[in-house]
């Protein structure tokens, strides 16, 4: 039996989809273990803690818990996650083109899809790990009372943030691979921080609305919020927001995969 026969005989979900995707994921995680990327990760972990330390030192009477939580939320599930994903998810295709590895991957069955989904998973794992560490350190440095439940809430928000936004950044990565970073920053600003704050139907399709709403819900802040701030959250139950983030991520990923399926890159060697 030739290798081809062997694969045909065993063209299960595992060999056709799962194995290549996990291969890409583990290969990408290996790439993220470079000295440069580890240094960036270290900065990502320390940066929110450094900000919280500086703020705590300027407030003599101690930091208000709600204010500290709001700041940590802005620094970690928002800033650190965004920056982490810009580094890990945006270059999904551009990196392969630059390294001359795209051709090797594009000629493998399901290689294109495995590349995108595997890189997505690696970006989510890497960024989540960095952001959760950053959240832990920031909470400890800020000396927030009852830190453990808060860390739990922040960890869930971090995972949802990376799941949703990595999928959002997958689109510029496949549509404009060589300008993915710039395009992703633009997408983040326009979609997450402009459309996300417009109190209309459009903000329902943003991750930032879901995360804010979950934070308000789980911190028990809904009653405390002024009326004008209530417009910036969605009062639906938490499970709706979680399902919405997963749904949004799935739709964006499917669209990105479909686009990548049809992408062609001219052989620059000859043109």
């Amino acid at each position: 039996m030739t290798a081809t026969d062997a694969i045909h005989a065993d063209a299960s979900f595992r060999t056709a989809v799962l194995s290549p995707t996990l291969a890409v994921m583990s290969f990408q995680l290996g790439r993220l273990l470079s000295r440069q990327r580890l240094l960036l990760a270290g900065l990502g972990v320390l940066f929110p803690a450094a900000v919280m330390l500086a703020v705590r030192r300027t407030v003599a009477e101690g930091l208000d818990r709600d204010l500290a939580v709001t700041m940590i939320y802005a620094l970690v599930p928002e800033a650190v996650c965004m920056l982490g994903l810009l580094v890990t998810m945006c270059p999904a295709v551009a990196d392969e083109l630059e390294r001359g590895t795209w051709i090797h991957i594009a000629v493998r069955p399901g290689g294109r899809r495995a590349l995108l989904v595997g890189t997505y998973l690696a970006a989510v794992i890497w960024t989540s790990a960095v952001a959760i560490l950053a959240a832990c350190l920031a909470v400890l440095v800020a000396r927030v009372p009852r830190p453990l439940p808060l860390i739990g809430i922040l960890a869930v928000l971090v995972v949802l943030s990376t799941l949703g936004r990595a999928a959002l950044f997958a689109l510029p990565a496949v549509i404009l691979p060589k300008r993915a970073l710039v395009a992703s920053v633009a997408v983040a600003l326009v979609v997450e921080y402009l459309a996300g704050f417009i109190p209309a139907v459009i903000n329902q399709a943003t991750v930032s609305l879901r995360l804010r709403s979950l934070l308000v819900e789980w911190m028990g802040w809904r009653q405390k919020l002024p009326v004008e701030m209530q417009m910036l959250i969605d009062p639906q139950p938490a499970w709706v927001h979680i399902v919405a983030v997963f749904g949004l991520a799935a739709v964006l990923l499917v669209v990105a995969v479909k686009i990548l399926d049809f992408r062609q890159f001219p052989p620059s060697v000859e043109l």
Binding site: T4, I7, A23, F27, H104, P109, F262, Q264, V269, L271
Partner: protein, 316 residues
């Protein structure tokens, strides 16, 4: 096994491949053409990286573009150097085999075996960045062959290698080609190169591509006969080219004359030696001042140029 029917591929205003029709069966085939001829584009179409703008590409009876059923049976070694530097050859080849649908353990076994076969057994755990170009080329070849494809496509596989590495890799590919002939499932090898002797060494049938067009196909002998059957050119620089033309026009073998500028005569002939001797004797007898006599371009580029003229019906 593989057929292209009136295939054209256009990138914006650049024509990569122009109306190519060819059928390739099992066995070894060489795709010959100078840099920029369209070889990589043609291979991109065959290996499912590119969709034709016009025409039809069929590999194993199906469209290859992003088609997993076809891609599973193709092994491709691109021309571009591998810039993935941190991974080791073992990790890299295992990764590619996994992408071809093999489980991790089976992929590891195949990667090790193939790396041994291409002579990288000792170096398979060194980062790619520490390997020579020849060794990286071997790693690329191992990646293309480790999943035992039915169609192996190699783009300039010997480019930039030293003579020893080149000899080794030609031997390696030739062994694959020989085993392809005896394999249970018919297998095909396509090697693109701009060097005729590399393709000849694989005992492959030849297809010559130039300017995106397929200008000739056949065995190396047939193509050489075709080229030899075409008149070659002798270029003579002298102060009286028209007078010289009058004197040699009755010579056997002089088939055509062309003047370039005031001092250059170009004579087409199938008997260049006899003609050159006649020119020399005429020049002495008539006391003509000849500055330069140059034979036509015998380089591969020159042969390609002549094939193009033959293809267009000029000088045939």
């Amino acid at each position: 096994m593989l057929s292209l029917t009136h295939v054209t591929k256009v990138f914006g205003s650049v024509i990569g491949v122009n109306d190519v029709t060819v059928e390739l069966g099992a066995g070894a085939h060489g795709l010959l053409g100078p840099n920029g001829a369209g070889k990589t584009t043609l291979l991109g179409l065959i290996t499912g990286q590119l969709r034709p703008t016009m025409g039809q590409v069929r590999v194993f009876g199906e469209h290859p573009f992003a088609n997993p059923r076809v891609l599973r049976r193709i092994g491709f070694c691109p021309a571009a150097d591998l810039l993935e530097r941190r991974a080791t050859p073992r990790e890299w080849v295992r990764y590619l085999v996994q992408l071809s649908g093999f489980r991790r353990d089976a992929a590891a076994e195949r990667a090790d075996r193939e790396l041994d076969r291409v002579g990288l057994g000792e170096a398979m755990d060194r980062p790619l960045s520490t390997l020579s170009k020849g060794m990286r080329q071997r790693a690329k070849l191992a990646g293309a062959m480790a999943h035992a494809p039915d169609l192996l496509v190699l783009d300039e596989p010997f480019d930039g290698l030293d003579p020893v590495a080149r000899h080794d890799l030609v031997g390696l590919v030739r062994r694959w080609a020989v085993s392809a002939d005896t394999a249970e499932v018919p297998r095909t090898l396509i090697v693109a190169s701009h060097l005729l002797h590399e393709v000849e060494a694989l005992h492959a049938g030849l297809a010559v591509i130039l300017g995106g067009r397929l200008v000739a196909s056949g065995t190396a002998g047939e193509i050489r006969d075709m080229v030899d059957a075409m008149p070659s050119e002798i270029r003579i620089r002298c102060d009286t080219p028209r007078r010289l033309a009058e004197l040699v026009c009755s010579t056997d073998g002089a088939e055509g004359f062309r003047f370039e500028g005031d001092d250059l005569l170009v004579v087409a002939t199938r008997q260049p030696r006899a003609l050159a001797e006649r020119i020399a004797s005429v020049a002495v007898e008539e006391r003509l001042a000849i500055e330069e006599v140059a034979a036509g371009d015998r380089s591969l580029e020159g042969i390609f140029g002549r094939l193009v003229r033959l293809h267009r019906g000029v000088g045939s």
